[in-house]
């Protein structure tokens, strides 16, 4: 590595360079009793360790007046490659949420667990807690490859297990090699080192220019929304055999209001790799982004901008060069849905059952009359299958032995948390919301805390038009960064200011077309006023099998977004 530092590098790049493979001054930060926060540079570095420093924004003004610093706490994102967790892992996360978090578990849109509200002094104990059950948070956030997603339902295909395994291999291969994580969080006592001793053969000492996301999907299901990832891999199966993957590159949903040079973009298909070459292909794509990505302006540093800057052919040529061979032509495939199929099913071959459980906002909690968290804790004590996290913030109790089916159903019923998806509108079942206020520092507006209330009102409209079972995808975020993939919502609501949202329409149902801005700065009345007539028209005029997003395009309500660069047109 050259020692000459480009003076135009962004602040975070300088922090990474000085960090000695992600150590920074985290140890000092943790020892400082005078603040619940970290040293400023360490707030960037702790992301690589899977945690964000946040404040309780509901209390910021009040505490400032009280001459107290903001109520700092940490979100910890625990990786679950492919979304598969054991009962023991579930039990531990449940207990950690109570011991060190805010008493709830968040299941995220990227199949991870999030603990919220962890105080600085409790970070090591929390991380040690899930380390004991073989989970980690390294690379949960930060400028590295994040949790690798994979669609979750093991009963949908015979090759599913194989695909999950490849997801886990990719995750392991792209996990940072620095020993900083172990030193800081697990070993406690640190040997003072001034020289970086680690080696990062894939990332180098400055890691990637920006976050990097990979997802796998097994058609016809796209609940991992692979086109919204830097790399999307579509499993191709023939006669019960996994042949390999179609490779898509350059997806990413974040953008910044007021900066039209930023835009959500879906990944482009560039070819096919055999299954045994998937890890290698991912590594090479990562290294191109490592070398070519923009390290001066973080708003333009995702792979999608690198590709649009150099052009897709140049990017693919470089990939072929680095692989030493060319990708094969893309194989045919078809996606039908990016939603979860709720309820009980049983696999005739194995006799095992599974329950796809709706978890509103992905939030596992107890509240009066609805003790989902307690019920799942009870189930985790005997359930011999897995807890699988879906990309839609829901939960699959997978591989339930026949002797446990009735017991699980009873426990959930008694807790008021029984599978009730069929009583809900399809709109609510498919809804996604990011965390937003009160803890996310990016949020301009509410999302998870507010969407259920908005849905109460929208449900009335939906039911009045006989659309209760029409699977309309609605997604809400508190800012334009895209955590709940709002630009792939048939109805996308993106927060602009407290109580105000931009309304986007026109995505398709399988995660293959972005939506388009329809109205700006709507309050709740505005959202209902704008959506009601369109929903009425859809109910009256839809063609057989026509999705809501497709309808809004066909009838000219919005223009179709063909590619990311057209998003703002």
């Amino acid at each position: 590595m050259s020692t000459v530092v480009n003076p135009k590098l962004s602040e975070v790049e300088h922090v990474k360079i000085a960090s000695r493979y992600l150590r920074g001054t985290l140890v000092d930060s943790l020892a400082n009793r005078l603040t619940g926060a970290l040293n400023p540079d360490d707030t960037h570095l702790i992301k690589f360790h899977g945690s964000y420093q946040q404040t309780d924004r509901d209390l910021d003004s009040e505490r400032k007046r009280q001459k107290l610093e903001p109520l700092f706490s940490f979100m910890i994102r625990v990786r679950v490659p492919g979304g598969v967790a054991s009962s023991a892992q579930w039990q531990r996360m449940d207990a950690l949420a109570d011991a060190y978090g805010n008493g709830t578990l968040k299941l995220t849109t990227r199949q991870t667990f999030q603990l919220h509200g962890v105080l600085k002094r409790n970070l090591p104990a929390a991380i040690q807690g899930f380390n004991e059950v073989q989970m980690d948070s390294i690379a949960g956030c930060g400028d590295v490859n994040r949790n690798v997603m994979c669609n979750t339902n093991p009963h949908e295909s015979a090759v599913h297990g194989e695909v999950v395994k490849i997801a886990q291999e990719i995750s392991a291969h792209l996990t940072p090699r620095t020993t900083a994580y172990r030193e800081i969080w697990l070993d406690g006592d640190l040997v003072e080192t001034t020289e970086a001793v680690d080696d990062e053969p894939i990332y180098g000492h400055t890691y990637l220019p920006r976050k990097f996301k990979i997802a796998l999907a097994l058609p016809p299901y796209n609940d991992s929304d692979i086109f919204s990832n830097d790399i999307g891999l579509i499993a191709i199966e023939e006669n019960g055999q996994l042949l390999g993957f179609n490779v898509a590159v350059g997806g990413g949903l974040g953008m910044t209001f007021g900066l039209p040079e930023t835009y959500p973009r879906l990944a482009d298909l560039i070819g096919f790799v055999p299954a045994d070459k998937a890890v290698e292909a991912c590594e090479k794509i990562v290294t191109i982004q490592r070398d070519w990505g923009n390290r001066e302006n973080r708003k333009l540093s995702r792979l999608k901008y690198t590709i649009d800057r150099v052009g897709l052919p140049a990017f693919v040529a470089e990939l072929h060069q680095r692989l030493g061979y060319e990708l094969a032509p893309t194989r045919p495939y078809q996606f039908h849905s990016s939603s979860d199929a709720f309820g009980w099913t049983t696999n005739a071959a194995t006799g095992q059952s599974q329950l796809v459980l709706f978890v509103e906002g992905g939030r596992v909690l107890d509240r009066p009359g609805y003790r989902l968290k307690s019920a799942l804790r009870e189930i985790s004590a005997f359930h011999t299958g897995e807890f699988r996290l879906t990309g839609n913030q829901n939960l699959i109790l997978a591989n339930i032995g026949p002797q446990h089916v009735a017991r699980i159903q009873t426990i959930l019923e008694e807790a008021g948390a029984a599978p009730q998806a069929e009583q809900l509108t399809a709109l609510r079942r498919g809804a996604l919301a990011c965390v937003a206020l009160n803890t996310c520092s990016q949020a301009f507006a509410e999302a998870e805390r507010y969407l259920p209330h908005l849905l109460d009102k929208l449900d009335a409209v939906i039911r009045a038009h006989g659309l209760a079972d029409a699977g309309i995808l609605i997604r809400m975020t508190g800012c334009p960064n895209g955590c709940a993939r709002p630009y792939l919502g048939e109805i996308g609501l993106v927060g602009r200011a407290p109580g105000r949202y931009n309304l986007y329409l026109g995505a398709d149902h399988a995660g293959e077309r972005l939506n388009k801005l329809y109205r700006e700065m709507l309050d709740e009345d505005g959202i209902l006023r704008e959506l009601s007539p369109i929903l009425a028209a859809y109910a009256a005029g839809r063609q057989p099998g026509e999705g809501f997003g497709d309808f809004t395009i066909r009838t000219g309500i919005v223009k179709a977004t063909v590619r990311g660069l057209d998003f703002h047109d």
């Binding site: 009793r33 005078l34 603040t35 619940g36 209390l59 910021d60 003004s61 009040e62 505490r63 400032k64 007046r65 009280q66 001459k67 107290l68 610093e69 109520l71 105080l119 002094r121 209001f257 007021g258 602009r496 200011a497 407290p498 105000r500 700006e520 700065m521």
Partner: protein
């Protein structure tokens, strides 16, 4: 114009307008600077012998100050502020960039040229970092700013209903306080860069043509000399009615503690104090307690009683002249003479039973426990003690807060003997006075609990709970004086997140050097309880080093719990670090006390 001072008849407004007709704004500004120079130069020339020659010589006066103040959430405001400072430097103008977040509002009075860059959030709200200054400018303590020239760049987003509202507020408030606009306010939308750059260029061009900035008179020469106030004699009998300026609950949500920060106005009182002094407050009993006592005594609220030469209704006497919340032996003795209960006499004869009886009981309890028909309004009044004042260690420095005094008051509330009880004065300050109300106060000087005379001497301060109060005053005072001695604070309370009193202020003092070190002990945040005395022991080497180096040692807080523990911890520190026997270490600490280098304010 009502703002005009009274001028000689020959210089009425019409004449002025005639004389200045046709002048450009720049020329008018120059003239105002000219006359301003005349005025301030003249004042200096008129015989203030203490003025420095440099201040008197207008031509040699230093250039005026340019301060660029920003308040924004995203960092855009900071960027513009830094850009403006660079552009100013390129023109040879020195500018200081300040974040509103740690800019004391009262400093505005010292500013001469001010550029304000501030964003607006949500529905017209200021960003958190600007909240305090925004509130200050709109509040009663905002100073008049006749000498200030300013310009405001408002950052905002046109799609919000209240576009640039905070910028508008700053602009209008500064003008209303008498400051002069260098430029009309500029409101920038999301694409702020171009208008911001233009604004910077325009405002700097304006400053360059403003004679005051390059060769104007030094405003320091014009600093108003405070008139010496008559040394007022305020006392318990004649307290000063101080207006409450601010009342803040310092403990965060979920705390078991309730500590109030009270700011009182001393303007016009002539009251002065030094850090370490106490402020005595004359309380008034809570009306429900007065009613409780009246009921228990079965006496009429209007029954007249005589207090010396004064006659007043019983309820009034009980409310403001007699102690009701606390029982003492002397009260029991006088009451026993009226109500000959055997049990009461028994209590008085047995000290081991008397103390437990007195603890947590008030006058109503006594009257209910031992009722008597012999009680008259006058007899009750004569039996009870006069209501004493309550003294609180002052939590502020007059240098840092001119004409103000701040208190840190722990609200005393407890359930005892079947009724909810509260401290007479702490509950008054916590619950019953609001901003704008008056509290009757006077200063009680504390001769010994004072900062070292030598500003270079180091100090170690140990405080728990409201014992933090005098140390806030100490650190503020030393920061204002620029004292070179190092300040080390030990502070303890139950919980870090809710009970770290004045946390944000300490963090600022640490950043700016007002505090050299800060050690904290939050007793309930971990399985094993940790107190300030434990931290003293952990830091024994440095504590002893400071002491040997002549540091003064202060303790403030609860007498029984803190006072003794700290003294014995310090003896252990000495024993360990000096290798002394326990006896010699104790003697070392005793000697510190004798030299008045170990000072206590315990209660």
């Amino acid at each position: 114009m009502s703002l005009l001072p009274i001028l000689p008849p020959s210089l009425n407004e019409a004449t002025l307008q005639q004389l200045t007709a046709g002048l450009t704004p720049q020329q008018l500004v120059w003239l105002s600077g000219y006359f301003y120079g005349q005025a301030t130069g003249g004042a200096v020339g008129a015989g203030d012998s203490t003025a420095t020659p440099a201040a008197a010589a207008t031509s040699a006066a230093p250039a005026e100050k340019l301060t660029i103040l920003y308040g924004s959430h995203t960092g855009n405001g900071k960027k513009v502020a830094e850009q403006a400072a660079e552009a100013a430097a390129a023109r040879g103008l020195q500018a200081e960039v300040r974040d509103m977040n740690d800019y004391p509002g009262r400093q505005l009075a010292q500013e001469q040229n001010l550029l304000v860059i501030v964003s607006t959030h949500g529905e017209g709200e200021p960003p958190v970092s600007a909240e305090e200054l925004h509130q200050f400018l709109g509040g009663p303590r905002a100073p008049k700013l006749p000498k200030l020239k300013f310009a405001v760049l408002a950052l905002g987003d046109k799609s919000y209903l209240h576009f640039c509202q905070t910028g508008k507020d700053f602009d209008e408030r500064l003008a209303a306080l008498g400051a002069t606009r260098l430029l009309d306010r500029v409101e920038a939308d999301v694409a702020y860069k171009a208008p911001a750059t233009q604004w910077v260029a325009d405002v700097l061009a304006k400053l360059a043509t403003n004679p005051a900035v390059t060769a104007g008179p030094s405003a320091t020469a014009a600093a108003v000399v405070a008139e010496p106030l008559p040394a007022a004699q305020f006392s318990a009998e004649n307290p000063w009615p101080a207006k409450v300026l601010e009342s803040i609950q310092l403990n965060g949500r979920g705390s078991d503690k309730e500590t109030h920060h009270i700011e009182l106005d001393l303007t016009g009182s002539g009251l002065t104090y030094a850090p370490g002094d106490a402020l005595a407050v004359r309380p008034r009993n809570h009306d429900p307690l007065v009613e409780e006592v009246l009921r228990a005594a079965r006496l009429s609220d209007t029954a007249p009683v005589q207090l010396g030469a004064e006659s007043l209704p019983l309820a009034a006497a009980l409310a403001s002249r007699r102690e009701l919340t606390v029982l003492t032996r002397d009260v029991l003795e006088r009451y026993a003479a009226l109500a000959p209960h055997a049990e009461l006499h028994g209590l008085l004869a047995d000290t081991s039973r008397l103390q437990p009886y007195l603890y947590g009981r008030d006058v109503a309890d006594l009257l209910l426990d031992f009722p008597t028909d012999q009680l008259t309004a006058q007899a009750l009044t004569d039996t009870l003690r006069p209501l004493p004042t309550r003294a609180y260690s002052i939590a502020s420095s007059l240098l840092a807060h001119p004409d103000e005094v701040h208190l840190t008051v722990g609200a005393v509330r407890y359930q005892a003997h079947g009724r909810q009880k509260q401290g007479v004065c702490s509950s008054l300050l916590a619950d019953r006075v609001a901003v704008g109300d008056e509290v009757r106060v006077f200063v009680e000087h504390n001769e010994y609990f004072k900062l070292p005379k030598d500003p270079a001497a180091d100090i170690i301060m140990v405080g728990a709970g409201t014992g933090i109060a005098p140390f806030r005053a100490f650190v503020e005072e030393r920061a204002e004086l620029g004292a070179s001695g190092r300040n080390w604070l030990f502070f303890g309370n139950p919980h870090f997140t809710t009970d770290f009193l004045y946390q944000a202020e300490w963090q600022q003092h640490l950043k700016r050097g007002g505090l050299a070190r800060l050690d904290v002990a939050f007793s309930r945040d971990q399985a094993a309880k940790v107190y300030v005395q434990d931290r003293l022991l952990e830091r024994s080497r440095d504590v002893f080093g400071w002491l040997e180096n002549g540091a003064q040692f202060y303790v403030c807080g609860d007498k029984s719990r803190l006072g003794h523990a700290v003294q014995s911890a310090l003896a252990q520190v000495v024993q360990k670090e000096a290798g002394l026997s326990p006896e010699d270490a104790a003697a070392y600490v005793k000697n510190l006390k004798k030299q008045r280098r170990y000072l206590e304010d315990v209660y």
